[in-house]
Symmetry: C2
Subunit: 218 residues, 2 copies
DNA sequence: CGGCATCCGGGAAGATACTG
DNA sequence: CAGTATCTTCCCGGATGCCG
């Protein structure tokens, strides 16, 4: 792929040859919840310029991590999606995220993409904390909707509108992260208009209470 | 750290801000089995030039991942070691390695550092396969020695000379990888002089048989 | 507008030489 | 041995423009 290789038989080094270039893993992150279009990726990754995105998609496609698909007419648009093997890279993203949560330099006030929020739910989920909890939450972040459920100690996160959810939340991923990770009071977030909630607020709060932040390092 | 940041609240993106620069994760890899000196790192990471290594060590130190320690006289040399939090990054390396093992482009004939071999043992170890096996192996790769043991379904890998091992192996990490991952016949490797073994060859073979390669992707 | 070339400035990476 | 200084090369990031 990249001409600048590590020339190292270690599989970890080879992984970095494949996906160690700037933006590559974040492009993969945005594809983790399903296919996306060129413009979607560009919109979710501010700072990534079009030419670099083109290069990354080419590289990832050549490596067998991303596949491009042209939808049949009348849609006739091109989408990018992860291959099966590309999807298997999810633990890499989750492990990186879990580790960096302890960084003293981490600034949670920066922009937060919807997909990143969903993956963070997966990364920090602990089945042992659910105690038989069952809940289905519908999220709406602008145009993007997600259904998040907990059932029998298993977390499910899917793109799409939730059917008959216990509670529906509209707002920004940042505000939702403030509730879950920053432990901001739900009533306060609603009062500010950062989140608007319809349905079972207590269920949403129970979901947020599943998550606790590890102590900072150093 | 790096002035070129992703400006993204996602913890995964922040991780890449911290350790996403070229060579950073491989420097951390070489520190995973204990403190090392500047020259050790350079020797293990061919292609990494001194100025870049200096920059990475400075950056990792500023981020709280690496600590530099000056040994007291008469040694009086400087060593670099991972902080506690830096050590916690090990799952990142293992996850990357496990994923990349399925890459069709992976070339296992390239140079292989001793530490990389030890970490690969950890990454691909499966307790369920050990079936009560107990074995202690001493490895010697040039100046570097390691003790690798399996006991009660737990793998231990430490730097240093093994005491009363079942079997001792001298050779290169690549040759050992050929035995374990390439399933090269031990007798053949010995005949070629790639490995020299004293002690219980069957125990070494049983250890190698713990490992199976997953199918390539694509 | 989506996708992808092209050009350019700045900065990081890579090789070499040099210093205590 | 452990870095530092310098120079070159190449990648990244931004802008522009071309086509469907």
């Amino acid at each position: 792929m990249s001409s600048r290789t590590y020339d190292d038989a270690c599989a970890t080094a080879h992984a970095l040859d494949l996906i160690g270039e700037r933006w590559a893993l974040l492009v993969m992150r945005e594809l983790m919840m399903g296919p996306r279009r060129f413009g979607d990726l560009r919109a979710s990754l501010s700072g990534l310029s079009a030419n670099v995105l083109t290069q990354r998609l080419e590289g990832l496609e050549a490596a067998g991590i991303v596949r491009r698909r042209r939808l049949p007419p009348p849609a006739n648009v091109q989408t990018y999606e992860l291959t099966e093997w590309g999807l298997e890279a999810e633990p890499i993203l989750l492990t990186l995220g879990k580790w960096a949560t302890r960084s003293p330099l981490h600034d949670p006030t920066l922009p937060f993409s919807p997909v990143a929020l969903m993956l963070s739910f997966r990364a920090k989920f602990e089945a042992a904390k659910t105690k038989g909890m069952t809940v289905l939450i519908g999220f709406r972040f602008g145009e993007e909707s997600f259904a998040v459920g907990v059932r029998k100690g298993v977390l499910s996160t899917e793109r799409g509108v939730a059917v008959a959810p216990d509670v529906e939340v509209t707002g920004t991923p940042s505000a939702m992260a403030g509730l879950v990770y920053g432990k901001a009071p739900l009533a306060e977030l609603e009062r500010q208009g950062a989140l608007s909630v319809t349905g079972d607020r207590a269920a949403l709060q129970r979901f947020a209470d599943l998550y606790v932040m590890p102590p900072k390092a150093g």
